[in-house]
Every structure is written in structure tokens, then in C-alpha cells.
Symmetry: C2
């Protein structure tokens, strides 16, 4: 997938990953680039997150992005702060820009010093080009596939996104990172104002295991080289973010199925998001999906503890488009519905009948492989 005008990317294998797979990616912003940024609220946030927040507070345009995988550079003390700064400096030198215009990110093992000298030795070998493919591969950890998405606007501007993540947090192995690039000419203030709401509706509605990473971030960068209308632009941004969010959920550790939960009729959007996320994140419902069990009691119970305002005797629940609960048990063909659940995507539609708001959330089934992946990896 090709980047919009104003961006070039490349990657290499620097040796941070013992496997020798690509682990260092750089995106060059050809001119001063507006951006917006949301990062993890985890108190044990990594130096790259703390640095990113400071850059964002300064509200200056950026010139580049550097990401390493294989090492989260988190819980690495003062050395970690220095190594993160050095990562910015090395990328800045390579891109011939100032370090304070380069956003950094690290993802991988926690508590192990970042082998920054490997970055120093190899970053010069990166060849920049218009494709995002090698960068998308270099930011992967336990991901089984690259995650890319794009939309084109009337007038020719494009929105292109890349993400990684196969658990909300994997201190040893993973993290969610998402970057959107666009050439649409959108004022920086508008980007900053509206990006958090898009993230809330998309990336923050993905749940794999309920854990929140120390290194998560979602950012959007605009070269502003092509005229665009805000309406279609934000639709495109949300479509790309939503598509990446779904790809992350579908590639959850050990996952065999994507679970999509749509809630409507909620009292407000916050309630809709809470309700959808509770169902998508319920360990019991995730296990039931794995077993093709149309077990609506687990959905109802998750709605009940979600915090969303509703009355169980008014709610309606449909599974794979079959109503299975309408204020109470509804007869349905369990064998047929169990067969319908043997699909790559299991869709739960919920009407809370408490208002007009709606939201979606995405998760994945809970499998024996999730346990194996996370139990058998030993530090």
C-alpha cells in the first residue's frame, strides 16, 4: 500500500529481534506535518509515550516517525529515557531534520535495556520509498499479519493507515500502535480537536484481553498537500481507523474469530461504548464464541455489569441476525445458530431501548492458544 503525498517509509532488521526479522521502521515527512496523538493512560508508560506527550503539548509540526519492535524500552529507568532520546536523534540524523520533530515508539519486551547501538549501526541502511509495506512488517510483534487500510477522498486526497497489536497489552511481546497518514489539507487545530473522538470510537473499542499497554499510541499525520473537505475527510479517517481496529481484534493472540458487538438504543454514546466493550471483552462470552455456543445469558450478564443504563426486560439481543432475547428468552433453533457461529466473524446486535445512541466494539474468541501463547513464553 502506498503512502499519500508528502510521506516516504522504509525499514530494516537491526538485530533487536533475536529472530532477525525486521524491527526498525522509519517514516519521513517531507515537509512540516500537522499531527494529532492519543497515548496510553497507563501509569507505567514508557519513555516514548512520555516524550510523545511533551512533543504534543508543544504543538509543533513533525518531520518523522521512528518505531522499533522487539523491545518496549519500558521500566528501563533513566537509561531508557536517554535511549529513547537517542532513538529520536539517530532517526533525525538519518532524515536530516531536528530530533524534536521526530516521534518515537518502541514495542516489545519490557524491562530490558534497548540495544540502541544496533539501531545506530543499521538505521543508515534503510531505503525510503512510497510503500508502507516494509514499515508495517517492521512494527509487528506477535501479530500474524500486517494491518493496512486506505480510503481515497473526492479530489484525490488519501488517508492511509497502519497498525500493529494482537493483545491490548503484552509487556513482553506486543502493544497497539496505529498511525494514519494523509495529504488532505486539514487545519492542525481540527486534527487535534477531532482525533480523540475517532480513537474512542475505534481503537479504544478493541479488546483482546482487557489489559492496557504501557506503550499504546494512535496518531494521525497530515502533509496538507491536497485540498479536501472536512466532512468526507473525517468519514475516511474513521473508516480507516475502524478497519484497522477490526484487523487488530481479528488478529488477537490465539484468535480464530472476530467478534463484532453493535449496540444501539443506548442512553448516550458513553453508555453505548461501555455496553459494547463489556460484551466484546467478557471472558465467558469469548469462550462461548469459541465453542459456537449461542449463550445469550453471558451477553445479558455482561450488559448488566457494564455500567450502561438499561432495563433487562426491554433489551433485545440478536446473534448472527437471529433474535435470541427480547426482554426474555426467545425460542430459537440452537443447532442452526451454533452452525451460523462457525464463521470468521460473529455479530452481536443489541438494542438497549433506552435512548438513541449507538457504538461498536470488537474482540476475538478466547482460545486454548491464547493461554498457550501467554503461558509458554518465558522471560
Amino acid at each position: 500500500m502506498y503512502l499519500p503525498k508528502g510521506f516516504m517509509a522504509g525499514a530494516t532488521a537491526s538485530g533487536i529481534k533475536p529472530s532477525g526479522k525486521p524491527d526498525l521502521g522509519v517514516v519521513s515527512f517531507l515537509g512540516a506535518t500537522a499531527w494529532a496523538y492519543v497515548a496510553t493512560t497507563n501509569r507505567a508508560a514508557a519513555p516514548c509515550v512520555l516524550r510523545g506527550r511533551n512533543l504534543y503539548a508543544a504543538a509543533e509540526p513533525l518531520r518523522g516517525l521512528v518505531v522499533n519492535s522487539g523491545n518496549a524500552n519500558c521500566a528501563t529507568g533513566e537509561q531508557g529515557v536517554r535511549d529513547d532520546l537517542r532513538l529520536a536523534e539517530l532517526a533525525a540524523e538519518f532524515l536530516e531534520v531536528e530530533p524534536e520533530t521526530v516521534l518515537t515508539a518502541s514495542t516489545g519486551v519490557i524491562g530490558v535495556p534497548l540495544p540502541i547501538n544496533k539501531v545506530a549501526q543499521k538505521i543508515g541502511e534503510i531505503e525510503l520509498g512510497g510503500s508502507l509495506a516494509s514499515f508495517a512488517e517492521a512494527i509487528m510483534t506477535t501479530d500474524t499479519r500486517v494491518k493496512l487500510s486506505e480510503q481515497e477522498l473526492p479530489g484525490g486526497a488519501r488517508v492511509v493507515g497502519v497498525a500493529k497489536g494482537s493483545g491490548m497489552i503484552h509487556p513482553n511481546m506486543a502493544t497497539m500502535l496505529a498511525y494514519l497518514f494523509t495529504d488532505a489539507a486539514i487545519p492542525a487545530a481540527g486534527l487535534r480537536e477531532r482525533w480523540p473522538a475517532v480513537v474512542n470510537r475505534t481503537f479504544n473499542q478493541v479488546t483482546v484481553d482487557g489489559d492496557t499497554s504501557t506503550n499504546d499510541m494512535a496518531a494521525i499525520f497530515s502533509s496538507s498537500l491536497t485540498e479536501a473537505e472536512p466532512g468526507p475527510f473525517w468519514e475516511a479517517v474513521e473508516a480507516v481507523a475502524r478497519d484497522l481496529a477490526r484487523q487488530i481484534a481479528a488478529d488477537g493472540e490465539g484468535a480464530e474469530k472476530l467478534i463484532t458487538v453493535r449496540v444501539r438504543g443506548a442512553y448516550d454514546e458513553a453508555d453505548a461504548r461501555l455496553a459494547a466493550r463489556a460484551v466484546a471483552g467478557s471472558a465467558l462470552w469469548k469462550a462461548a464464541v469459541h465453542g459456537n455456543d449461542p449463550n445469550w445469558g453471558r451477553i445479558l450478564a455482561a450488559l448488566g455489569y457494564s455500567g450502561a443504563r438499561f432495563e433487562p426486560e426491554r433489551a433485545v439481543i440478536a446473534l448472527q441476525e437471529t433474535v435470541i432475547y427480547d426482554g426474555g428468552a426467545v425460542p430459537f433453533n440452537g443447532v442452526a445458530l451454533s452452525q451460523a457461529m462457525q464463521a470468521a466473524e460473529v455479530l452481536v446486535d443489541i438494542d438497549l431501548r433506552s435512548g438513541e445512541a449507538e457504538a461498536e466494539a470488537w474482540g476475538c474468541d478466547l482460545t486454548e492458544d491464547y493461554v498457550k501463547i501467554n503461558a509458554e513464553y518465558t522471560t
Copy 2:
């Protein structure tokens, strides 16, 4: 285990459980009995919980308790409300007391009408006696063992507890129920005032899968037949509640190990409870415990998103009494520590160094069997 003075119990197999195992238990309170009660906050709460709340609001003494397993009588509509009332009436008739002095509880499958006629046919066969053993067995669902605990006070009064539960919620199969019985003469007002705090420190600190049941409840009943001092009494109550909480966690679905998390140095008790529960409930840490992986990054990350106030660079984490993190990585013998984790109980000690408060939480390792139990049970 024998009940304190003023209580008799018994049970039978009424046929609610298809297996034919005991599924109906009754406790007779020989006189007017003071009580205190905490129930689930789930919005999809079962009729027994709604009825229990109303009884509790009336603040009258009770004369009995009836519990059925095998059917939660939840999401069963108006019929469910009538069946729950009928359960109280049948127990009241059997005990020769008024229905509004009998607390009811149901645990098991959701959304299926309670076969109340089976209760009507069999409740008369129950033989009441001083032992709590048959009652303890009759309230089990996916539990693999009965959960009983007792303490004796100076002066001879006793506190005896029984519980069930092997996941925080199992709409199809389980729920947490806990009942403490005592003959200690404690004023009803004191019971009502202090019981919720005990529950917060004990039963509410158990996490198996993060789900909150539609039918959970924890109650204490006092016949007040024996003089007792409040100090030793509340110590005994907390010891019994804590012991039962640990038994519930250790018998979590698929669990092979008990995880105990002790947090000290927290800013306040609420923070201490949050922090302990986040670690005990982290899917990633639970999987690491299953794999004997001393993966402190997952503990630190869980503390980071717990909401508790602390600085990662001041915190200390010990695992099986070995310090593995002290404001940053600490060298340790990974092989030896992994071997030490191959115990029935894995102990995490955390000092947040943010204050003086402390709390404990209990969980269990996440195993392939948890997934199997919850995926392969089909409605």
C-alpha cells in the same frame, strides 16, 4: 462442619440438576435471626436478588434460607418472580415460618424457567441437622469441592461459613454465594454496618474471570445465643470470609494454582484494593503464572492501569518472596524462581511506596481448561 447454636441445615436432590446430584439446600434459623447482606450490582439481577434487597430494606429478622443450584432463575420474566416467591413459600411451609422471613437464592443456568414443582415435591424429604456438609454440597455448580470455614471465639461463640463459586459469573453454571452463621450476640445494627466492609476486603477481592454475576450474594446470620465481644467477633468473621474467598479463588474454573496478591504502601485502602485486584485479574499475568513465568512486566503494567496512585520508579515487587523489581529491573535467578512458582499458591507482594494502606486479592491461573470448560458447555 457443625453449625453454631440456633441453626440447622439439610439438603436433597430435587431433580433440578439433570445429573441427579443434590441441588436444594435449606437452613432453619431456630429463632428470630439478625442478618446483613450484600448482593450483586448487576442490572440483570435475578428475582432472588431483588427480593433479598427488599427483605433487607425491611430490616426484619429472618427465620430461614433456601438455595437451589442448577437453575439461576434469572432472565425468566414475571414467571421467575412468581417462582422465586413460591420457593420462599415452600421453604416457609417446610420450616413452619412466614415466607417473608425466608431468604432465597438460585444459581445455575440462566433464562430457563425454574422447575419449582420439583422443589415442591422434594423439599419435604429434607432432614435437618447440625451439620452444614449436605447444604454445602447442594449449592455447588461447577465447584470441584465444598467450601467451609470456621472460627471459635473466646467464650464459645462460633462463626461458620459456607460458599460456592468457581467463576465470578457463570450465567449457565455458577455464581458466588457465601453465607456465614454465628451464634455470637452482636446487635443487628452493627452487623448491617460492618458487613459490607468485610465483603469488600474479602469476597469482592476474588476475581476468576472479571465477570460479575447476576445472582451473587454474601450474607451473615446471627442467632445471638452466645455472648461475644465485637473485637474478636469481627476478626473471626473476617478470617472466615477471607478463608472462603481464598477457597473460591483456588477452585476457579480450570485453575491449578491460587494467586495471592498483597499490596501495601498504597495511598488509601481503595487504591490498595484496586491495585491488588488488577494484578490478580490480569489475563496476561494469570497466563504467566500458569506457565511459571516470573514475568514482572505484566504485574507492573497491571498496576499501571489499575487506577491506583503510584510512581513506577518507587514501587517494589516480590514474587514468592524474591524481589524482582525495585523501581526498575532487579537481577534474579529466573530458573530458581520459575521452579518456586510451581507451587499450589503463588504469592505476589507489592509495595507501592505511596502511603500506608494495604489490601489483598485472590485469583487463579488461566489455563487451557478454563477455555475448554467455558467453550465446550453448550446450551
